[in-house]
């Protein structure tokens, strides 16, 4: 029977199905971090049980770590307590921890792939909604709550209802200045922040196939921003090439054997999806958000919608959003002054993102009215940026290159955008208060963010390249 990519992986991970209920799904890899794990460990202790398969869990500290002076003790007491608790729990239960100071430390969704832990055909979970990132390798990867973290720790399984299946085909060639972040912001703007709720989404089509692994991760990362249970892309030569030689990827003959299996992971021609959406890559321009959910995105040459363009039922939330953002309906987004530029997060903090920004800003200086933070996704990304001299380019441009962590994506550490200020951010969420109380976030690609850093305002990067 013809199967989708999702079904091929799902079917081989179902331990059993409960009558009239969910399936028991086996989980191959489990990533944990300091914020959503302490209560799960506490739950195990309360029940007096141990971690079932500690070798299948990898831990890091990322959400609330400082991004300067990581060599010093964390100043903020509660953050320090969470990071210390993770350290203690990992030691007690025999879990590998890439904590602060470790050469592999970084954002959980950056380190999994770069270490070769994330592989095609796997089921992967983490107590973080952006776990969908790992789907870029052709795996079923999704975010879970803390009770579920505890379940996976205790049994390596979860109870899951099979989602509906959607395929989004992006065909054709991208315009100059348009990158993978623009593709996903465009898709979410088309189908809304709830447009894929209840679905597992496969991204396909020639424009997706042409993307690098890191660019694919950006797309899958934001699947959750349209409500999707997970996002995935069938593995191909690009995937195999990326994985080859990575520390925890299979080596030698094992790798070749794995490729034979991974090569079977695609949706069969006759496979059925509950929904298909077709997107023409040529229709996409550099995107930016103007509102307070990721579906409120427009092309950078466009304008904030007029009230008359919004359907009646959505008017109250639209108006609430604009009030928060301090924007008027109908205004052009281009030329809007910005105060901060944040380049980082599990969406766009990988070496290719930093290279993209560096090649654009080389020899340029940031505008006086802007503060620019670049937060690499991991220690390895940071190291590579230094080796390639990217740090020098940033320094000369007046950008502040910091140390790895989630940082201003969610402002759990000190990296917060002040109230009322506008921040062009390469992260994934523009929710009210996400980057700090009353901070105003505009989501964009690393290129569009870099252009704004130089001009001090929302800029159409196509005019500068």
């Amino acid at each position: 029977m013809a199967k989708t990519l999702f079904e091929k992986i799902w079917d081989t991970h179902v331990v059993k199905t409960i009558d009239g209920g969910p399936a028991v799904l086996y989980i191959d890899k489990h990533f944990i971090h300091e914020v959503t794990s302490p209560q799960a460990f506490a739950g195990l202790k309360k029940r007096g049980i141990s971690v079932f398969r500690p070798k299948q869990i990898v831990a890091t500290a990322d959400h609330n770590v400082p991004t300067i002076h990581q060599e010093l003790p964390i100043k903020e007491e509660l953050s320090r307590l969470q990071v210390d608790t993770l350290k203690k729990n990992c030691a007690e239960f025999g879990i590998e921890l890439y904590g602060l100071g470790h050469p592999f430390q970084g954002i959980v969704h950056v380190i999994g792939p770069e270490l070769g832990i994330t592989q095609p055909g796997m089921t992967i979970v983490c107590g973080d909604s952006h776990t969908s990132t790992h789907g870029a390798f052709g795996s079923i990867a999704f975010g879970i709550g803390t009770s579920e973290v505890e379940m996976v720790m205790a049994t390596q399984c979860l109870l899951q209802t099979k989602p509906k299946l959607m395929r989004i085909n992006v065909e054709g060639k991208l315009n100059n200045g348009v990158v993978s972040k623009d593709i996903i912001l465009y898709i979410i703007a088309q189908i809304s922040a709830a447009g894929a709720t209840g679905f597992a989404v496969e991204f396909a089509g020639s424009a997706i196939r042409a993307l690098s692994m890191e660019a694919r991760m950006t797309i899958c990362n934001m699947s959750i921003e349209m409500g999707a249970r997970c996002g995935m892309i069938a593995p191909d030569e690009t995937t195999f090439h990326y994985l080859k030689g990575r520390l925890f990827a299979p080596q030698g003959i094992n790798f070749d054997e794995k490729i034979a299996y991974w090569s079977t992971l695609y949706s069969d021609e006759a496979a059925k999806f509950d929904k298909e959406i077709n997107i023409n890559a040529a229709d996409i321009e550099p995107m930016i958000t103007y509102g307070t959910n990721p579906g409120m995105g427009i092309g950078v040459s466009g304008h904030v919608p007029e009230l008359s363009e919004i359907n009646e039922k959505e008017k109250p939330s639209f108006e609430k959003s604009l009030l928060y953002m301090g924007l008027q309906p109908g205004t052009n987004i281009k030329g809007k002054k910005v105060d901060y530029v944040f380049i980082g997060s599990c969406t766009n903090s990988r070496i290719e993102d930093l290279r993209m920004v560096a090649s654009f800003v080389k020899g340029k200086k940031k505008a006086d009215n802007v503060e620019v933070w670049v937060v690499p996704g991991s220690k390895q990304v940071e190291k590579q940026a230094i080796e390639e001299g990217i740090n020098k380019i940033f320094e000369e441009a007046g950008f502040n290159l910091r140390q790895p962590g989630c940082s201003a994506c969610l402002g759990m550490n000190e990296d917060k955008i002040p109230a009322g200020k506008y921040c062009i951010s390469t992260s994934n969420r523009n929710f009210e208060g996400r980057q700090g109380p009353n901070a105003r976030t505009m989501l964009a690609s690393p290129l569009t963010a870099a252009a704004a850093a130089i001009t001090g305002e929302v800029t159409d990067v196509r005019e500068l390249i």
């Binding site: 081989t12 331990v15 059993k16 409960i18 009558d19 009239g20 209920g21 969910p22 028991v24 086996y26 914020v35 959503t36 302490p38 209560q39 506490a42 739950g43 029940r47 049980i49 079932f52 509660l78 953050s79 307590l81 969470q82 107590g127 973080d128 909604s129 776990t131 999704f142 975010g143 879970i144 709550g145 803390t146 009770s147 579920e148 379940m151 205790a154 049994t155 390596q156 399984c157 109870l159 989602p163 922040a193 709830a194 709720t197 921003e225 409500g227 249970r229 959505e314 109250p316 939330s317 969610l410 402002g411 759990m412 969420r429 929710f431 009210e432 208060g433 996400r434 109380p437 009353n438």
Partner: protein, 196 residues
Amino acid sequence: MSKSINIIKSTAVPVNIENVDTDQIIPARFLKATTREGFGENLFRDWRYNSDGQPKKDFILNNPTYHGKILVAAKNFGCGSSREHAAWAIKDFGFDVVVSSFFADIFKNNALNNFLLPVTVGDDFLQKIFSAVEKNPETEIEVSLEKQTISIPETGEQDRFDINNYKKTCLLNGYDDIDYLLSIKNEIEKFETSTN
């Protein structure tokens, strides 16, 4: 946390805002606890309080006219971050049921795992609840998990909601998913052997 739920009859608190994400339910800066308790204090923190900590008079949770064990929310409730702290905060504040026409997936699971019942109703019925409660804050709503019904006894209007049989049995009896998974550990081990 009170375990097992069946019939909940209570007045309701309407939060008629669409796309309420979990950052609004509980902002990230309040996720630093290592226990599950006390998150209710910061439920809807930035909508509920000014930056100086003073309650915002116009937010519904600060209006004593509205109270009860049922939170009535608009479409796409609980989207965004997977933080279970959102479900903990709602439960800790004193709600046992959240009603909406559409829940985000992860939030729904988190709610169920905390014996906070997410009830999905049709758009029209949701509007009826909003109107009834806004007109008379003392309007009671009755939810029966056993019958899978939600009604407004005052007007006699009623809607049905879906829940799978497994989860229903768990909630009625106070069982956790984790209890179930632990009970089939030998089957899980067999599965591991068969796939290796």
